[in-house]
Symmetry: C2
Subunit: 307 residues, 2 copies
Amino acid sequence: MFCGVDIGGTNVEVGLVSEDGKLLDREGLKTGKFYSAPDLVLAIAESILRMTKQSRQPLEGIGVGCPNGRGDQGVMVEAANLPFKGIVPFVDLFKQYFPDIPVALANDANAAAIGELYYGKGQGLKDFVEITLGTGLGSGFIVNGKAVDGANGMAGEVGHMVMIPGGRPCGCGRSGCLERYVTASGIVATYNELCQIHHHEPEIGNYKDLCDLAGQNDPVAIEAFGQAGKMLGWGLANIALCTAPSHIFLYGGVALGAGDYLLKPTLRSFDAHLLYSYRGSVRLEFSGLLGRNGAILGAASLPRQLR
Amino acid sequence: MFCGVDIGGTNVEVGLVSEDGKLLDREGLKTGKFYSAPDLVLAIAESILRMTKQSRQPLEGIGVGCPNGRGDQGVMVEAANLPFKGIVPFVDLFKQYFPDIPVALANDANAAAIGELYYGKGQGLKDFVEITLGTGLGSGFIVNGKAVDGANGMAGEVGHMVMIPGGRPCGCGRSGCLERYVTASGIVATYNELCQIHHHEPEIGNYKDLCDLAGQNDPVAIEAFGQAGKMLGWGLANIALCTAPSHIFLYGGVALGAGDYLLKPTLRSFDAHLLYSYRGSVRLEFSGLLGRNGAILGAASLPRQLR
């Protein structure tokens, strides 16, 4: 049995996961309630102890997924959406409470990739890419059965590939990045642009509304997903040329919410942009973790790469 | 002592390389003289035996670099510029003459990357990317000290990243691929386009002439390299986000010929397009194999990854 801890800007999810990927128990915390990382880790440790006491199984490892996590160093670095500034040594903080249990950490996209490897469609695969689509676009590269950290510990920041030089301004300080067109806010922005072009009153407040509108066959909403898919398929076809994965898995709230409205145009564009000699050797599909507490499963899988 | 065999469309180079990367002896063959792969391998084997007899050192391995080589299978697949069609089992062919010596094969870009790792600036590095610039743009990814083959054995075809949808037609059947703008013929095409725009009579026949013209401070030639560098820096900044290499090395005849005329605008564009948080963690520079019989050194390094 492993414990997965997913630390996000709003919520912290803590869960116990069996060897074969069943969620045995879980608890949630509000990130904003904690003013320091040691306070947060103390509360998480109490939560883990409470749950393990009830489960009566031995705990084999703890995995922590967080934004800007550096797996090689076991720390989180300057995560913009979290109240803890600077470098947070999460692995060391957990080790204070669990000195005899392996503790591993990764950024959330790498955690999703490793979760896919152990609990999702990545089982038995050696080379694949996990794409997480949410407020940002993250990715985790699996090469030869191992997650790639890269020399700076930040491999997989493909959401910031510049697709359109001089395009939409990005929070990273540059413009035209892939994630500005294919994340929740990006697709909503495209919808609003299309409404202006069509002199059509925008009917939505957020991404969920846009998904609902597409579900009602609204042509402007469907076109917004079509444009996002075009950009995403193009970007993924370029990415595939680097490490030649056998699969690219789409994961995250944006993928879950949009379903085929996003997947179908993405597949069309991926096929159109992929190098012909790669055709048939790279499959693009939804993650096996979608709708399955993937963040906890991903975090819980991390200590398994330490073995 | 290792033997490196570089099989190209025009020439085959065979060389003996010492453990520390010195070229001890070499011979060359004309690819076009051989009507079948077994004939070619027989001639290469004779050449190797001749050279090893003279050198009196034991041969520890043979490495073969070739276009469309699949390292995992030891074969060359449908290489367009070679007279041997279909799947050529080079490793097995060499094994007939050298049954007791390790034989390894890779595509030429991966061979250059592995050569960089053992004999060039890659010594001691774990994560880097080798870019080969010639008639095409190839690349080899080193992740955790190992060359990436990918699921299809063809990782690193980044010359076919689509940069400009609907851009210049590419030999791959699509359009707007990176290599159409940054290889020898691509940069010459840009020069010719610029001449048309400036109503300027083109003064060159080939890439070498263009390099000479830039050396004479011809502003149109310099502008052609400037545009190529802009595109190359943009593409490399996108690639860097996948595996977060510590270095990207530029190798090949185009890089050697152009020198700073290409490197300087490439560096400017790379800096402008690279994600800010990656700055300082990825260095872009010329390969340590440039002008050093890199193709033979690269091939000779391949059996060392088998150890």
